[in-house]
Symmetry: D2
Subunit: 281 residues, 4 copies
């Protein structure tokens, strides 16, 4: 028995679920979890099925599913049940990094942290402690192209599935974003987007006097802080919170939000729908 995952999207019509589940039943698969949703504003159908296969593996089933996919003009993919290979980019703040490493180590997140890249040497002991290869690659204006090329080489050499910006204080160039492609990079922004995009969001929030502060995990696109939002969370604050205290509170929210977003991604629960996400929890 193998646990597998099927994700698909196609124009909505009658009979999709019947055909999809028919293909699974014919090939001796038992559905464990199934989610589907139609965006009626653009008539697009989204579906995720987790199932146990008793006869075939994910390569076989990907082939067997082709005829259904063709019939309904689907984009689809069958995933095997393996850990997502993650590359973490991080700057000085280590709270998100530590949390992801801990959750990976006790199997509460289905990811393998394959490598850590930082522009701060202070991160190295953490990487060593979790026995993850570490690359200290300083990032300056003058070496940006080289540094990004190194990241991209590592990405390819290590067959990375997902790049996580775990409080990485450098903006990826549009060129690198394009080369990595859609749904390949998750960032955590330390504000409740779209409020307070850009730099120093907690300072901005303090100046505005908001009563809740938040954090946002989103896919990275070539437009800064504007990619599809995956997850958000907020916490109540009041007038007495200084920017420093907002930053301290924010660390916990960022940690939570990023861990959730990485989980949804690693469990193949997220679809891109225009510049928004569909997340089957």
């Amino acid at each position: 028995m193998t646990r597998l995952f099927l994700t698909l999207k196609c124009p909505d019509t009658i009979g999709i679920i019947h055909n999809v589940t028919g293909c699974l039943a014919e090939n001796n698969c038992n559905i464990v979890e199934s989610n589907q949703w139609t965006d009626s504003s653009n008539n697009t159908f989204y579906m995720r099925v987790a199932f146990d296969s008793y006869t075939f593996d994910y390569v076989d089933l990907s082939d067997l599913f082709q005829s259904v996919a063709t019939k309904f003009d689907m984009t689809y993919r069958v995933y095997e049940d393996r850990k997502t290979r993650v590359l973490i980019l991080v700057s000085k703040s280590d709270h998100c990094l530590l949390d992801l490493l801990y959750r990976a180590s006790n199997n509460s997140l289905p990811i393998d942290v394959v490598a850590i890249v930082s522009n701060h040497e202070s991160i190295e002991p953490i990487a060593n402690q979790y026995k993850v290869p570490f690359f200290y690659w300083p990032a300056y204006h003058y070496n940006r192209k080289d540094q990004e090329a190194a990241i991209f080489n590592l990405y390819q050499a290590e067959y990375i599935d997902l790049v996580v910006l775990a409080r990485y204080m450098q903006v990826l160039s549009p060129d690198l974003c394009d080369k990595l492609g859609a749904k390949k990079v998750i960032n955590v922004h330390h504000s409740f987007l779209p409020s307070f995009s850009g730099s120093q969001p907690y300072q901005q929030a303090w100046k505005k006097g908001v009563k809740l502060i938040g954090a946002t995990a989103h896919y990275v696109t070539s437009v800064l802080d504007d990619g599809p939002i995956i997850e958000q969370e907020v916490e109540r604050v009041d007038h007495s919170y200084t920017p420093e205290k907002l930053i301290a509170i924010g660390r916990d929210i960022e940690t939570t939000v990023l861990a959730r977003a990485v989980r949804y991604h690693a469990e193949h629960r997220i679809f891109i729908n225009d510049n928004k996400t569909v997340v089957f929890k």
Copy 2:
């Protein structure tokens, strides 16, 4: 085109979804929302499908579905898209009553409040204002049997789908509970059950010094405050809250929790699973 709802439960096995959706596709129905879940602890499969039927009505489809149901040993029902007929029982506190009437009146809850019964005359003006038939039936120890008989007669005469205890401070007798049957009565308890069951829960919560207080909506069974929980919510409090202030805070939580539970019921989203609920939101 008619919007219909199918709910079913059966022992889990391969092919259920395929057969269910096959029956719907063959009979020219388009699935709008579909939820399913298997309780692996007792191998029971639960499913709810909302769909648009272009050819048949709910009576036809109930017949057409019989063969699938037999094949999988299902308990099932097809619901038409009509408002749930509700009888509200209420004592002196009117906040839940007013909220339900308001949500019914502006169609944000799919219910018809068919009648209101109270053991307090003070409720009558509210009923009048919403033009709902009102019955002032005092409840004392000596007339309990008669009062409950009157409620049951009203329940039958008006083809009530659901009885809502909207802060009704009388305990229904086991006899009445049994006659009404399972999934027929929703109560809101003013605590975070199973803590503080029985009377004066806010006083109990205050004595214990809890830091969150809550409310619970549950189906009524013949065991007091022990029926399947449908929905719960809490709010943060602190040492400075008196029992009176807890009661005031609690009113808002009770209102929210009861409205949600009634919605889930009226939209056929709830299943009983032993003494728990499955709620497809």
Copy 3:
């Protein structure tokens, strides 16, 4: 015995609390609740004291307090324990209005709703039911000056303490805002400001694909949706929520947020601190 409230602000220095509480103790007052906070970014001290006076009334105490106030260069006010006189402006959506009227009627909000003004006749039955004077004053581009003059006359004639925009879909002119003055008008905006200011915020939120939607209660200034924020709240949503469903969810958040803001104001818990608020809960 009379319950009174003292609010004050002044430059921070040593000895303020000692002098304030000394004045109260000397004049036979017992402190029931006391809050103070210093904004170290502008060295301003804020204080609110609720106390029971056994000898003097609020006019006496206001005089008796003058010497302490002078010593510390304070702005201060002593409030008697009476209900805040409220004028509600409302358009078609009645959920906030109904909630405020209900909370006023059962004394869970310390306000008197003195009058209701609407540009929609449909609001009249609600006003009648709660026996509140109602004024149907249509608002068009051509009669804006006259309509606002009428509002201002009513405000003065009825000694209104607070104007509440309970989903009032007209923008008050800068001229009227200036005449009413600071801290005189509370508005509820149906978004989590500063995101989605302006019109159709739920439509904007839907387009952006945010995972939490919110509402904001703030004091009105002559800059649209930019006055000091008093209270905010959010609720979790997901991809499946249509703009219509966001609007329905939002109604409950708006209701909650506005009721809280009105309570804080009516209990003299709010101070303006630059363009932010200090709220002593």
Copy 4:
């Protein structure tokens, strides 16, 4: 300049705040934060003041304050601004331990973790990594007295201020509880007390079908899971959560709740009021 903290409780009467703040002002202290509250059910006044002293230290001020304390029959204490010395007891689950060590290391919690005791050897590498002395003391029925004696010796030898049971799966004997005294031990219980006290609370919660699960941090008394509650938090769950998933969700809640409780304690924000707490946040 030294930051100091004064906490006191006494029977409520007129003039307390005036006298307390008078003593501080006379001795050249500037109040930074002040909280007070009267429990009118037992007429007890509680106060916490954080202040900057420009002339005296905490020993001086403790003496200088004695006359005020005598006048009002106060229990009081002046604390210097130093880190709380913490002894952590932990069993196999390391999530709370790691979180406390991380927050201590980056100064977001004002504690020094002086030693870690565990009945599981697997905890040792974590202690080593944070350079905290570690004691592997297995706990069996037959050696309980000796093991507790060793803990108590360590407690005394290291001048421990606070013992934290960070998921310590052994029940402290009433004898040890008594020797440590009130407000000396904080435990995190993995349920929303008073529901599901005792063992396997997540299993209990699953059986009951609650819709929110929680965790509770409380002071330990000789009665199991019944000491004064300091902090609680909950998270929404649904029918689909297995006991294993509840445990995983619960880990995050336990971590959050325990860190908050330790902070409140270390910042001298907690008072015992009968079997409840007063927490000035």
